[in-house]
């Protein structure tokens, strides 16, 4: 074990240079007398270049550097759920206890509570053959989630169970031994930069229901799929992400606040523990892991936070859960990469980003997916990455590289946000390639005419766009009556269907059936109105009908079915009067 200890020779910001250690790439090091955590990111002759996850002020040349001889890892085991971590899996509440309100440095904190005892129930017995990734038992982690204990998915964990225990253990106690002497605990470590593989990856076929009409209805995301939400600041990116974290029907949610605002992160941290799952009625926090690395926390830890998050997500997928991961924002992650890259004096690619930006983004998104796990369960990781393009310009490298690998694209539009149209997803530029694959699910589980209805909605909105250009020139009165009607229907779609109030108790979550029926009622009006026009009723009469305006309030009502049926009846009445 020689060459363990080296010394620092240069410090410039978060990147330091050491000599005298024989490190591997991405090895973890303790830097300086305070033992700041760092990771090897370049080896150059005798010099080892290390990015440090904590503030480096005060470090001097000559101070010691200790190679930990392992890669940056997360500790996986029961206790992850309901936790709140920084970018390198240090629990923020523990940091608060150890050093107060401000995050100082050189403090180590284990990712899992090492005291807490978990009740372990094995499902294998002595003499059973085990393989990496197999489930050998479970503990009840939270009220809603049973945490499956896995044989760590690496080669040495193959053999027969020599001994397995039942009872209460903490995460570091041995619960089983294999015949080759390997010991198994409730937790294991996994290097964050190494993907945890599925046995078989398959094409997604189930929607990730989000309770947001524009997503579920028009641009759905599949479980195991990837989506990007790009948008300039102030377009409602964070609210959209938080809505998804709150309401998506995944079993587990991992939310990464990467380089975002402290106050906003606090809001998430304070609000989540009080939210209830609309289905189980349990606290949403029971299925959530939060990672918060705000913009003023060290930049290298920001770079790592994305990997910490996705590794935790994959771990729950290995247990057979469907996991949704929200990363807000991947642009901050890319910028952290750029910052480190420029400190390394690497040759820059587009806009100063490193040339490997595209590869890194693709690698990250590729860690999403659905299929069969090593233990034979089926699980999925869906990734929703927010992108913050500078100046709202979608042609910049991060957005473009993200678009190449994501299949659902939810474009936020500052113009819509300015009009207070929320969620401000632009319906013309957004798309989802999962529409086709999910058609079957929607027609079996909601309504057979789902896809037809939603494409009708999109068609009307597209027509509106064209008509509005004409209106700009000649005014709306100059349009033929039919087209004036289309404009009105499009307005109804926008105001009654697309707009959704995230802060309203009822409207914040919209089940698929409600989504369907709202759209259906609007089109019901459209059909009726078109036939009325054909029968010679004037457009003004049609536009002045009162019943249609009632649809506006339905989204705020719990018993939407009765209400919508009532409105349909009222419409029938009104139309029979005028025709």
């Amino acid at each position: 074990m020689k060459n363990e200890n080296g010394k620092l020779i240069r410090i410039a910001g978060p990147v330091v240079v050491a000599t005298g250690i024989d490190a591997k790439m991405y090895d973890l090091c303790k830097v300086g007398s305070e033992g700041l955590l760092g990771e090897v990111i370049q080896i150059d002759g005798d010099n080892t270049i290390i990015q440090v996850y904590e503030e480096t002020a005060g470090l001097k040349p000559g101070e010691v550097v200790i190679n930990q001889k392992k890669a940056l890892s997360v500790k996986l085991g029961p206790g992850l759920l309901t936790s709140i971590y920084d970018g390198i899996q240090r629990p923020l509440p523990v940091l608060d206890k150890k050093m107060g309100a401000f995050i100082l440095r050189g403090v180590d904190a284990s990712g899992l509570d090492e005291e807490k005892k978990w009740k372990f129930k094995p499902i294998v017995k002595k003499g059973d053959e085990v393989k990496p990734g197999m489930i050998i038992g479970e503990v009840k982690e939270t009220k809603t989630i049973n945490h499956k204990i896995l044989i760590p998915p690496s080669k040495e964990f193959i053999g027969k169970i020599k001994e397995i225990k039942t009872g209460e253990f903490n995460v570091n106690e041995i619960i089983a031994t294999l015949d080759n002497g390997t010991e198994i605990k409730l937790s294991h470590e996994w290097p964050v930069r190494v993907p945890r593989k599925l046995k078989l990856k398959v094409a997604p076929s189930m929607p990730l229901l989000t309770g947001q009409r524009i997503f579920d209805g028009l641009f759905p995301l599949a479980k195991g799929g990837v989506a990007a939400i790009p948008g300039p600041f102030g377009a409602g990116k964070t609210v959209a992400q938080q809505q998804l974290a709150k309401w998506s029907d995944a079993d587990i949610v991992v939310y990464i606040g990467c380089g975002e605002r402290g106050n906003e992160m606090t809001e998430v941290l304070k609000e989540f523990p009080h939210l209830k799952d609309p289905k189980s009625g349990q606290a949403l926090m029971n299925r959530t892991v939060l990672i918060a690395n705000t913009s003023n926390m060290p930049v290298a830890a920001r770079e790592a936070s994305i990997y910490t998050g996705i590794t935790i997500a994959e771990y729950y997928r290995d247990q057979g859960y469907s996991v949704a991961l929200m990363a807000d924002s991947t642009s901050r992650w890319a910028e952290a990469m750029r910052e480190i890259s420029s400190r390394l004096e690497e040759m820059p690619g587009e806009e100063g980003y490193p040339a490997y930006l595209g590869t890194r983004l693709a690698e990250f998104y590729e860690r999403a997916g659905t299929g069969t796990t090593l233990s034979g369960e089926s699980g999925s990781v869906s990734v929703i990455g927010a992108v913050s393009p500078p100046g709202g310009d979608f042609s910049e490298p991060v957005t473009q590289n993200t678009l190449r690998v994501t299949k659902a694209f939810w474009a936020l539009d500052a113009k819509l946000a300015q009009r207070r149209h929320f969620p401000s997803i632009n319906w013309l530029t957004s798309y989802s390639l999962y529409n086709k694959t999910l058609e079957k699910w929607y027609s079996e589980n909601v309504d057979p005419s789902w896809t037809k209805l939603m494409s009708e909605i999109i068609k009307i909105l597209q027509e509106e766009e064209k008509l509005l250009e004409i209106v700009q020139l000649v005014g709306s009165d100059a349009l033929p009556e039919k087209q004036q009607l289309t404009l009105e229907v499009a307005r109804m779609i926008r105001e009654f269907f697309l707009q959704q109030n995230a802060f309203h108790d009822i409207d914040t979550y919209c089940e698929p059936k409600k989504t369907f029926m709202l759209a259906d009622t609007i089109l019901y009006f459209s059909d009726k109105a078109h036939s009325a026009l054909n029968e010679g009723v004037s457009i003004t009469t049609v536009l002045n009908l009162e019943s249609k305006e009632e649809i506006a309030n339905v989204k705020f009502i719990e018993d939407f079915e009765t209400e919508l049926n009532k409105i349909k009846l009222a419409m029938d009445n009104e139309f029979s009067k005028i025709t």
Partner: protein
């Protein structure tokens, strides 16, 4: 014993390169003594066994190979105490008002540590600024960072001062202080601020840091950090509610670029360094409140958008960090409107936390949404009118057009001494909304519509706002 070195090997721009030193810590404070006795301060930017790069705050002018360099073995700290209130200091924290040196109660690191997001307290106390556009549409709350995006020649200073004068949390009186950090502004602008502080008596509750246009540019890099460390001391140790006004962040970023260029770093967008986001975040993120502590830091940074371009890196990166922005419009300014706040691109992300029943009024949110929607529509119509003429418009469109004009003239426009209470502001909003039929107010729930719109277009409630404003007198009293 601190050693002094006479081994300067290179001087370039704001940087000094020193050879053959003992191990020097990163970010360490440095003093450089010139042969004529002048002492300059600097900070270590890069340290290795054989070369140390020092950034000199006062600029490198007159430094030569014979100057003595001393490494002080600690990072930059600012002496702080409550006696700083009422003082005018340089951008580097030295007295500028011929007063005595600051007697330190505590020495604070100027590079503040990040607040643990778990320990932060959610900002939710409504601050009444007395400016309708801000209070109604882009509400400021305690602990928020809300920048003013301005352009050259726009009255951002007046607005900042008006906020500083009028800001209060209704129903709550706490200890209040203003920390003002000027970076590279002209002495005329600085005098304007100082004079106003003096006249209104605000100076006794203010700490003023001035780095003027002719002060060394590199000093600007330390000014906001000094100011914020002072603010943190006042807020979190002395339980004060501190309003930090910083102007002008564009100058700060230019200094950052200057140092980056001198270090021959690879530049990012428009030549600004790639780490500018992180650097700006380390300033803006120091706003907030902490669980278990009474004080708060609210920031109003001011920046001028170069060429009025909101996509320029400085406003762009700022917008991604701050919780919204107040955007000033040249068009409104040309129309002679003060304050020229354009609500459409403006935003306050924390607004929903600070408004509503019990804080402001139950109709606040919906009223604001409705005003936004109508004003946006009205502004769009102006473009249409230019093409098709007013006759081609529908009745509703004409009303909206009229609404947009009235909104600007009556709601946006107000005097720089006019302090409107939130009730006055909201009532004025309703008065304007009555220009449109009740059923068109789709953003407002029927219940609130009935409660505030009244039965007909001419409601008595609306007239209230035309009466003289009580608070004006209050204001005058306060100044005395």
């Amino acid at each position: 014993m601190i050693k002094e070195y006479k081994t300067i090997s290179k001087i370039a721009g704001p940087l000094v390169f020193v050879k053959k030193t003992h191990p020097v810590g990163y970010s360490e404070l440095v003093t450089i003594k010139l042969p004529d006795g002048t002492i300059k301060q600097g900070q270590v930017l890069d340290t290795s066994e054989d070369l140390v790069v020092v950034q000199v705050f006062e600029g490198t002018s007159r430094i030569d190979r014979n100057s003595w360099v001393k490494f002080l073995g600690e990072t930059i700290k600012i002496p702080v105490s409550e006696s700083m209130l009422g003082r005018i200091l340089t951008g580097a924290g030295k007295p500028r008002d011929n007063g005595p040196e600051i007697v330190a109660k505590k020495r604070m690191d100027v590079v503040g540590a990040a607040i643990n997001p778990y320990t932060r307290r959610s900002p939710e106390d409504f601050i009444q600024t007395g400016i309708s556009t801000i209070d109604a549409a882009n509400t400021l709350v305690r602990g928020q960072k809300l920048p003013i995006f301005s352009g050259s020649g726009l009255p951002h200073n007046e607005i900042a001062l008006q906020i500083a004068r009028q800001a209060k949390v209704p129903g709550q009186e706490g200890k209040f202080a203003v920390v003002f950090a000027a970076m590279g502004i002209t002495s005329e602008e600085a005098n304007y601020f100082v004079k106003d502080f003096e006249e209104t008596g605000a100076l006794q509750r203010a700490v003023v840091f001035l780095n003027l246009a002719d002060d060394p540019a590199v000093e600007r890099l330390i000014t906001p950090k000094m100011a914020l460390s002072t603010a943190e001391y006042l807020a979190f140790e002395k339980e004060m509610h501190v309003l930090v006004i910083m102007t002008d962040l564009t100058n700060y970023c230019e200094s950052l670029r200057e140092v980056g260029a001198a270090r021959e770093e690879i530049p990012g967008r428009r030549g600004y360094p790639g780490y500018m986001y992180t650097d700006l975040a380390s300033i803006y993120e120091r706003a907030g409140m902490i669980e278990g502590k009474k004080g708060s830091i609210t920031q109003i940074p001011i920046l001028t958008m170069i060429g009025d371009d909101i996509t320029h890196p400085v406003p762009d990166l700022t917008g991604y960090i701050t919780e919204g922005q107040i955007v000033l419009s040249r068009e409104l300014h040309r129309k002679g409107l003060y304050p020229p706040n354009n609500i459409l691109p403006s935003l306050s992300r924390l607004m929903n936390k600070g408004i509503g029943d019990g804080k402001t009024r139950d109709d606040h949110k919906q009223l604001s949404d409705q005003l936004y929607a109508f004003y946006a529509e009205g502004c769009d119509l102006r473009g249409l009118v230019a093409i098709v003429g007013e006759e081609a418009l529908s009745d509703r469109d004409k009303k909206l057009l009229n609404f947009a004009d009235e909104f600007e003239q009556r709601f946006v426009k107000q005097d720089s001494t006019e302090n409107r209470s939130i009730t006055q502001t909201l009532d004025l909003g309703w008065e304007l909304l009555r220009m449109l039929p009740k059923k068109d107010l789709t953003r407002i729930s029927p219940k609130l519509r009935d409660k505030y719109y009244g039965e007909n277009d001419f409601d008595l409630k609306g007239k209230k706002t035309n009466m003289p404003l009580e608070s004006e007198e209050e204001n005058r009293k306060k100044r005395k």
